[in-house]
């Protein structure tokens, strides 16, 4: 049970859930799907980044942002700007009146690259910006709002308004942003053609890798005291405050964390889909992202991944066969999840599947799991035995959360 042996962690129940997801994403789906479908799964997974952020921000800390599309979009635009500059070599754009700048700038009579585009010639700057720009904006919003105790519904509405503002701004400033068309026709990443099947497959695996990185960061935060504070803050904000915590700082942190995840997701989206447009920033996109999180289970970071995958797969499936029905299904999903399954898939899993698992686990690995029930029975000296960084009370799949 010691955390010092990371291999053993994979044999714990929580570890097995991660292994199962990894097997699904790394082995099963690539084997089962052709590159085209796999690319679509890759696209769905980019939304999972946002959903993980929302679990941390909304599920744990109770901050509902209806503007996550903003951060997703900013990360995506940063990446798109880099790729667009790479695609806009003077040779490739020779027919323009000003060769060497992106085509849409030329159409809008710009004769030189705007200053804020210049740094995006650098790949390392771009990577920094993919996380930095969303985090910076999240920090500004978070600082202004949380230090003034704006929360709950107000925060949701204001983030929604920010999504609206950014959309109008990007569409209106089309000379600088590509307008409603977005930034399209992206071809290569540092000379590597991202449009081929092989590239798309590689990008899919990169995306999965990044997703697990984010999952582990989220898990680290959730299982540390930080995660406990976030949950505690949600339930008893004043108690946390008067226990000596700067509540605003914690909220800003988790909001920035969610923004960073969304930014990474956006950048991966740009790479996988091949363009970025304002339609992923707007209100509708942002609220859809909330449903991925809600369906998966708003307290479960793994649930968020499954939520994003399932909703999007269902959307593709439905819209191929019954396009008329999809909005009804989506609407019913929102209402159903909220009314009947507020803890989403993760909640259902806990209620119905985990008891079965318990039986199987007990039969097969009785010895290994003895320690856990022992913890539950009030033992005078319990804590020394607990894995310091894994705390079942906080873990998303723990029965206490149901």
């Amino acid at each position: 049970m010691k955390s010092s042996s990371p291999l053993k962690w994979f044999a714990t129940r929580e570890g097995l859930y991660y292994v199962a997801l990894a097997v699904l994403l790394v082995v099963l789906l690539p084997l089962a799907l052709d590159p085209f479908r796999l690319n679509m799964v890759g696209k769905y997974l980019t939304y999972a980044f946002v959903a993980i952020g929302l679990v941390m921000c909304w599920g744990k800390a109770g901050i509902l942002s209806l503007g996550q599309g903003v951060f997703f979009g900013l990360g995506g635009y940063c990446m798109a700007m880099f790729l667009k500059l790479e695609a806009s070599t003077p040779e490739a754009t020779a027919i323009q009146s000003t060769p060497g700048i992106p085509d849409f700038m030329d159409w809008n009579q710009l004769t030189e690259l705007p200053w804020f585009w210049e740094p995006f010639h650098s790949f390392s700057f771009t990577l920094l910006a993919v996380i930095g720009v969303p985090v910076l904006l999240a920090f500004v919003i978070g600082f202004a709002m949380f230090t003034r105790r704006v929360g709950g519904v107000y925060f949701a509405i204001i983030t929604q308004a920010i999504a609206a503002i950014l959309t109008i701004l990007i569409i209106g400033q089309q000379g600088y942003t590509g307008g409603v068309n977005g930034i399209t026709d992206l071809q290569t990443l540092n000379g590597w053609d991202i449009r081929t099947d092989e590239a798309r497959t590689i990008l899919y695996f990169v995306c999965v890798g990044m997703l697990f990185l984010c999952l582990f960061v989220a898990r680290l935060v959730q299982n540390r005291k930080l995660g406990r504070i976030l949950v505690a803050m949600n339930a008893q904000e004043n108690r946390v405050r008067f226990s000596g915590y700067d509540v605003a700082a914690f909220k800003i942190f988790v909001f920035c964390l969610a923004a960073a995840f969304a930014g990474v997701g956006g950048a991966m989206f740009t790479l996988i889909v091949g363009f970025m447009s304002p339609s992923f920033i707007g209100i509708v996109a942002s609220i859809e992202m909330v449903i991925f999180c809600a369906l998966g289970g708003r307290l479960s970071i793994l649930g968020a991944v499954y939520g994003a995958l399932l909703v999007n797969a269902a959307k593709s499936g439905f819209s191929e066969s019954f396009p008329e029905l999809w909005p009804f299904a989506m609407g019913a999903l929102f209402i159903g999840v909220v009314l009947a399954f507020p803890n989403g898939l993760a909640g259902l899993y806990q209620t119905y599947v985990m008891p079965l698992e318990d039986k199987i686990f007990k039969r097969n690995k009785g010895a290994q799991l003895e320690a856990k029930p022992a913890e539950k029975t009030a033992e005078p000296k319990p804590t020394a035995e607990k894995t310091p960084d894994y705390d079942p009370m906080i873990d998303s799949y723990s029965p206490e959360k149901s």
Binding site: W107, I168, V180, N181, D185, F275
Partner: protein, 423 residues
């Protein structure tokens, strides 16, 4: 308005849409135009790149939004493309093969368009794609079409600035629509000042850029204002006030979508009677389709510059309108884009038969100069830049929602997607 349902039947395959009757009447005339094919050429000859062509069928793709905000506009195109396909099938098909189609829904979402175009090309191996409507959706599918060397037949009038070897643009590009109409306003109506107004996205902005250059540099006239509102904006009182103050001779409007309804209603309410032509309103965005939503009485007297109006008086158009109404109902109206969408399958057929092959590369060689004499708009020819030579017409809206054609260019307008001096 049951057309949504008809169009939205998803992946229905293009055999018989209750069109039999109209097909019978049409078949005879079309058969003559396409000359009966005695011998069907072998599949291996006409298809060397693995397209979905069998000995008696060929599969094409239709890719429009039938859900979401753009469905309103795109459904007419879907109907027209299906009608054209059915007529071609009734007349013997293409190279002796019946056309089947796979229809995909772009869902008004640009990545979905890209995704579905990839599916059509990679999984269905379609020989042609008829689809896309907004510029954004075209820009989204363009890299995919180019990558997999497909061929897109794009029906909408658009901003130009594009010339892909993998797209045939069956609508007008901006200069075709704009230059002739501004000249007309200046010459016939004696207009001296223009107020440019549009929804805020690339097509209106580019169109107005061309219009401004033409008005100021070529004609030496005045632009008294240029203004954009977000898509979906519904409050136009401020701009109406500005127009009243600046008293332009012409309002040159490219407002689209739901904003249109609010704009014309509020103009009307503000006491502007378009039949007075003070100012004269010239639009490049209101087709007969849009008028149905705005209400004929609200646009009575405005002028539109397009290449096609439903009221065009020629035999081709009469047949087309009759067939369309027979297929989809008497209350259907046909706008400019719907007609342009109808051209797509016919132009593809002509190119395939000229090339004697479905291969994209061989077809591309043959595009320049391909004619379609049975076009409802009269006569069109493909330019080597993949756009169409076509006439530009000015129509004046009537209270019944139809346009009365008041002017038509004598010659076909040359498409010029990269107009010199307008950039």
């Amino acid at each position: 308005m049951d057309t949504t349902d008809q169009a939205a039947n998803g992946r229905s395959f293009g055999k018989g849409l209750g069109l039999k009757k109209s097909l019978m009447t049409l078949a005879a005339s079309v058969m003559l135009a396409t000359s009966a094919q005695a011998a069907v050429p072998a599949t291996a000859e006409v298809n060397t790149t693995g397209l979905a062509v069998t000995d008696d069928t060929v599969t094409v793709g239709i890719l429009h939004s039938i859900t979401g905000t753009m469905a309103i506009s795109e459904i007419g195109s879907v109907q027209a493309e299906k009608l054209a396909i059915d007529q071609i099938n009734a007349s013997g098909g293409v190279l002796g093969r019946q056309i089947e189609f796979v229809q995909e829904d772009g869902a008004s979402d640009w990545p979905t368009f890209a995704e579905k175009s990839r599916k059509l090309l990679r999984q269905d191996n379609v020989a042609a794609i008829f689809g896309a409507w907004t510029s954004a959706s075209r820009k989204a599918v363009l890299p995919v079409i180019e990558q997999y060397n497909g061929m897109l037949y794009y029906p909408t009038f658009y901003e130009g600035l594009e010339q892909s070897p993998n797209v045939v643009y069956t609508g007008q590009e901006a200069t075709q629509q704009i230059l002739a109409s501004i000249d007309w306003a200046a010459e016939t109506k004696g207009a001296k000042s223009f107020y440019l107004l549009g929804s805020d996205y690339i097509w209106p902005r580019t169109s107005n850029k061309i219009a401004r250059k033409h008005i100021e540099d070529k004609l030496g006239l005045k632009v008294s204002g240029e203004e954009y509102y977000p898509l979906g904006h519904t409050q136009f009182n401020s701009v109406i006030n500005k127009i009243k103050l600046r008293k332009p001779d012409v309002i040159f409007a490219s407002v689209v979508g739901g904003s249109n309804v609010a704009f014309y209603k509020q103009m009307k309410a503000a006491g502007i009677d378009f039949t007075d032509e003070k100012p004269l309103l010239l639009t490049i965005s209101v087709t007969e389709d849009e008028i149905r939503g705005i209400g004929g009485e609200n646009v009575d007297g405005i002028y539109a510059s397009m290449k096609y109006f439903q009221s065009l008086d020629n035999p081709n158009n009469k047949e087309f309108v009759a067939a369309f109404k027979e297929a989809y109902g008497d209350d259907m109206v046909i706008g400019d884009v719907t007609q342009a969408a109808y051209l797509g399958p016919w132009l593809w057929k002509a190119a395939v038969e000229k090339a004697g092959s479905f291969d994209i590369d061989k077809i591309r060689e043959e595009f320049a100069g391909i004619e379609f004499t049975k076009a409802p708009e009269g006569y069109v020819r493909i330019h080597e830049n993949h756009h169409l030579w076509s006439k530009t017409r000015i129509g004046q809206a009537q209270p019944d929602g139809q346009y009365k054609v008041v002017y038509e260019t004598e010659e076909l307008m040359e498409p010029d997607p990269f107009p010199e001096g307008y950039q």
